[in-house]
């Protein structure tokens, strides 16, 4: 359920201008609307793009959040690679549950 909430927040942030306004005005307050663990909250707030990837956030959601947080494309790719090195394999979601 928790990965669901992380992705829901980032999905809404990506597509909803009102959520983005709240992100800009009071991000901490916005985060309280979602049922997140402390690790998830920190990874989103920091942001730790690599950890979010390892947690299982879908790249189609994560790449837009990385762009919002001013990651250039190559930085975004490298952040995910660094996440794998630092935190180990993807824990949940599409990249962890299908196939090898």
């Amino acid at each position: 359920m928790s990965l669901y909430c992380v992705q829901k927040l980032l999905y809404e942030l990506n597509r909803d201008p009102h959520i983005r306004e709240r992100y800009e005005s009071d991000f901490e307050d916005l985060l309280t609307d979602y049922s997140l663990t402390e690790e998830e909250r920190e990874a989103i707030a920091k942001p730790d793009i690599g950890l979010l990837y390892v947690m299982g956030v879908n790249g189609q959601i994560l790449m837009h959040y990385a762009a919002l947080r001013k990651y250039e494309w190559d930085e975004y790719i490298e952040a995910m690679r660094e996440g794998l090195r630092k935190h180990g394999p993807v824990r949940a979601g599409l990249y962890a549950t299908v196939g090898d």
């Binding site: 990837y53 879908n58 189609q60 995910m80 990249y95 549950t97 299908v98």
Partner: protein, 273 residues
């Protein structure tokens, strides 16, 4: 009237968003084939263009994820992504709600689906439109197939959906063009972004242009994930077009892996019977 054009093409955001980083020779040859498709669509004089895309969490989320959804809006807009990031300016896109509704009603006789009267196009539709209808003057009927959030619709249901879509088009008085847009093998937006399995792509495309139904439907998601990445699940859009053109063969106009675009870039058209 009937279906007057059918084809497939790629839609990766890098195609427009990172265009300056690609080998200009290969990139320009790819763009030329997009333009060839634009001319072919225009020559077919369609009243509307159906775009079967693979949505990427712009409109639909796992709180209510349709396996298949067809747009029925009064108008659309896109891209939902940052304009600079995608390299496409935000614009209104014309719709045809009445034709959409009639197509949905006809398809529903054979295939269950959802409809949506609101739709913000993401790169999956905007990148093809950028090349194929650059003046945004052709009414669009967007179609989404969930290729991202499993459980995913099985391939044979996509083929059946394509057949139902064709039946619907053939019963409408309007002239309708159809494109399917997806990646074949690719690992987009992941640490493996840029990886492309050309051999797998060429095999799949050979089955596609020859419309080998059994071969197209023989791929399992486990094999696709292993050999073609999670982006390979988007073959559902190609298979829908194969179903819509059952019995017809096609031509591969362009294929080349362009790693910075994170996909084997493809343009192909079917010879309609």
């Amino acid at each position: 009237m009937s279906l007057v054009f059918a084809g497939v093409c790629s839609h990766a955001p890098g195609i427009t968003g990172r265009s300056e980083r690609a080998d200009p020779k290969v990139r320009d040859a790819f763009y030329e084939n997009f333009d060839r498709m634009r001319l072919a669509i225009e020559a077919a004089k369609p009243d509307a263009l159906i775009v079967v895309g693979a949505e990427h969490f712009a409109n639909f989320f796992m709180n209510n994820m349709p396996a298949i959804c067809i747009g029925m809006g009064e108008e659309y807009e896109g891209p939902i992504e940052d304009e600079e990031w995608l390299g496409i300016q935000r614009t209104k896109v014309p719709a045809c709600p009445d034709l959409s509704k009639r197509i949905i009603e006809r398809v529903m006789r054979d295939v269950d689906l959802a409809y949506a009267q609101e739709w913000k196009f993401d790169h999956g539709i905007m990148v093809p439109l950028h090349f194929l209808t650059p003046r945004y003057d052709m009414p669009i009927i967007p179609v989404n197939i969930n290729c991202q959030g499993p459980p995913l619709i099985p391939l044979h249901r996509c083929y059946e959906f394509g057949r139902a879509l064709r039946q619907a088009c053939d019963e409408m008085p309007e002239r309708i063009a159809l494109i399917g847009t997806g990646g074949i093998s690719h690992w987009p937006a992941t640490p493996d972004s840029g990886k492309i399995n050309e051999e797998w792509d060429r095999q799949f495309l050979d089955h596609f242009v020859n419309n080998r139904r059994d071969a197209l439907l023989s791929y399992t998601d486990e094999e696709t994930y292993r050999d073609a990445g999670q982006g390979g699940f988007e073959i559902r859009t190609f298979i829908t077009v194969a179903g819509a053109t059952e019995g017809a063969k096609g031509d591969l106009w362009f294929y080349a892996p362009i790693p910075i675009f994170a996909v084997g870039c493809t343009v192909a058209a079917m010879a309609l019977q």
